[in-house]
Symmetry: C2
Subunit: 412 residues, 2 copies
């Protein structure tokens, strides 16, 4: 894409009330716009990143048999009363509103109730199971504090998958599959090495749930990490029994801040029983369906990536989620730059082409802020040498490559 | 996709309170789930249709220079007070809710205010113009009546594009481009022949706006149509002056019911002036940006397609938006059916494969209800003849084709 066509502009300052580093950088770079605390619109480059993250998640959910749906924000009070989650005394972050007839409705902060109710129309026999359904959809949570930028929004994109199984064994087996799919997602999104499976509270139906915690000083969570064993325990559940269960000692644990980037949870019959989602087993007996839920926030993941890799010059995107792989900078050599832009895009490489009439300093500063993985410069100097200058955003490494070498390098 | 893996089931009856034909069929076929009046979740097959419609729209918006964004549902009261559209006495279909601090916020029923405000950060000079930004995003409208299924929802997907121009001439030129893009969308979605550009009220800044009205007995609108000239006039604006403007006589007009499937509107400075979206022209003079808005509802389009083509057996999808092109029915010839499924999918043809253990009658009934363009049957009888039976859902035409003929026919 030609940058002269892109409507967003970079800016020197974020809004004064913005306190999070991820939102500050994303606003300055023109990726998002702050509507109010915890409420951010996505502008073209930001939406490209979000879509890439969502597509990685979608592919991993499809790979374990997920079927995509899209549920609604507006939620029926009667359904949530069945599970005792309607009352504000029970759930403290509802947004509620009213229909014209005066009936109160909620804005979904999660969708266990909705999907369980939908499944009552589609599950009747053990032959219908298992089912895995997921959506990537907007959640609303009336947070008292919303100071973590796009990492904790009042309105945000969420992938939530729900599993429906006949037996505990089937749930357990799928749960392990989902755990691996989550590991794949973090690996592909570039934060695999700093993201750890973390034991957390399991609720009524299992001893533990699992969180995926990504190390970050900006994180709101505290976990105890065994780097050696690659697992962690949430501070909330750490005690001797847990240590014993996991074969850990306090000595090997390090207290670190982290961001909860995903969680998986065995629900058992917590929702199927009150909503009446039953199936007939092989002996004709009615039984409640055994459920699990598996959540990950694409926007939170995006914010976490910014927090994890940004340096003092700006954002640093991993290739897999960068809006464009290459930022091509023309320094008043339009003809050669146009030709290279065409060659690179013809080769299937995603290029943001800074074809604007700005100084080299402005272009370089903007490019560092935007954070594409590779910056390629076309200038009188590089052309005289018969080469192009490539700078790797993450490492600062500079290479001088001729056109064939450049194409081969970028197509790896 | 194998139908044995699809979690949705067809059903004989829609919910008793469902009064619209489109929702009744879509619910029975398992495409959508009714959460409450005017609020529908999309299940796997329904989401596939919606995505295909959205992608057609996206391609046409990209082709005229649209840049995709995604704005938020939650809307800031102060912004809407600037344009005098906050008060419930001025806008009667707001959903409103409250933040924890007591501040009232709205759920966006449209996004002129939000996008205009965003653009104040990105537009300063005539050199920044024109800009065309669009989103495909959820709108909330607190309708008193919601009896038209997915054609008029309280929560629904909407594509809204906003244009930002320096001059009226630039707006006028883009408006014609957008009109053509809309015609392309309806053509590609299969309802081009029954959709007419319709003159409607223009508001303060232009004499007319244009609606795209699709003929349907289920429509809530009444228009006067000149089939000969291929244009129509909304009943709300029909008078002698309008007839004169358009060179029409009452005699050539036919009163028909229709569904408003799109609208395009010149906004002028209605929003840019109160919100302060200005640009500096070539003489250094500050001027308000000239805007237009262009709306189309993917869900409404989907409902309109159902209403337009369904017959007494069920839904009839045009190829371009069908969840799958082919419904392959195995009548107890699993081996041959599996082989054909593999051949068709390898050839890049989208196939829903009914591999379930049901009677021929049940499978045929379900297939007619689901409405894929082509039904292909594999049975002992067809195999004995060395052919497969193809039935065209729309016309009922039946062909007997051998494997090569079948592949050639379906790959057209």
């Amino acid at each position: 894409m030609k940058q002269s066509q892109l409507f967003t502009k970079t800016r020197k300052e974020a809004p004064k009330d913005e306190v999070s580093r991820n939102a500050e950088l994303l606003i300055r770079a023109g990726y998002v716009h702050k509507e109010m605390a915890g409420v951010y619109s996505y502008l073209p480059l930001g939406l490209r990143v979000l879509n890439k993250i969502e597509n990685i998640i979608r592919e991993e959910m499809d790979a374990i048999g997920g079927q995509e749906v899209s549920m609604t924000a507006l939620q029926d009070r009667m359904l949530w009363e069945k599970t005792d989650r309607w009352d504000d005394a029970k759930v403290d972050n509802w947004f509620k509103t009213k229909l014209k007839n005066g009936n109160e409705v909620g804005l979904g902060f999660t969708h266990e109730e909705a999907i369980t109710n939908i499944m009552t129309n589609h599950i009747s026999s053990y032959k219908d199971l298992p089912i895995y359904a997921y959506q990537i959809q907007t959640k609303f949570r009336n947070e008292t504090r919303a100071k973590s930028g796009i990492m904790r929004g009042r309105e945000f994109s969420m992938k939530d998958l729900y599993s429906f199984s006949a037996t505990q064994e089937d749930l357990d087996a799928f749960y392990e599959l989902a755990k691996q799919a989550y590991k794949n997602i973090f690996e592909r999104a570039g934060i695999g090495e700093i993201t750890f499976v973390t034991f957390a509270s399991g609720g009524v139906f299992s001893k533990y749930s699992h969180e995926f915690q990504t190390l970050s000083d900006a994180g709101e969570d505290t976990i105890y990490l065994s780097r050696g064993k690659g697992i962690a325990v949430n501070k909330e559940v750490l005690n001797d029994e847990v240590l014993n269960d996991l074969g850990l000692t306090r000595d090997e644990l390090e207290e670190v801040h982290s961001i909860e980037t995903g969680n998986i949870f065995k629900l058992g019959t917590r929702f199927s029983a009150p909503i009446g989602l039953n199936y007939k087993d092989e002996n004709g007996e009615q039984k409640p369906v055994i459920m699990g839920s598996y959540g990950i926030g694409p926007g939170r993941l995006m914010g976490t990536i910014v927090e994890s890799f940004a340096d003092d010059k700006g954002i640093v995107w991993p290739e897999s989620v960068a809006p464009f792989k290459v930022h091509l900078i023309d320094l008043r050599e339009k003809e050669a730059s146009d030709a290279l832009y065409e060659k690179l895009t013809d080769a299937g490489i995603e290029v943001l082409y800074d074809d604007r009439d700005q100084s080299a300093g402005e272009k370089f500063g903007g490019s560092d802020l935007l954070g594409m993985p590779y910056r390629v410069v076309v200038s009188g100097k590089t052309l005289a040498s018969g080469k192009f200058e490539v700078k790797v955003r993450k490492t600062g490494e500079v290479l001088m490559l001729d056109e064939n070498e450049l194409l081969a390098y970028l197509k790896r």
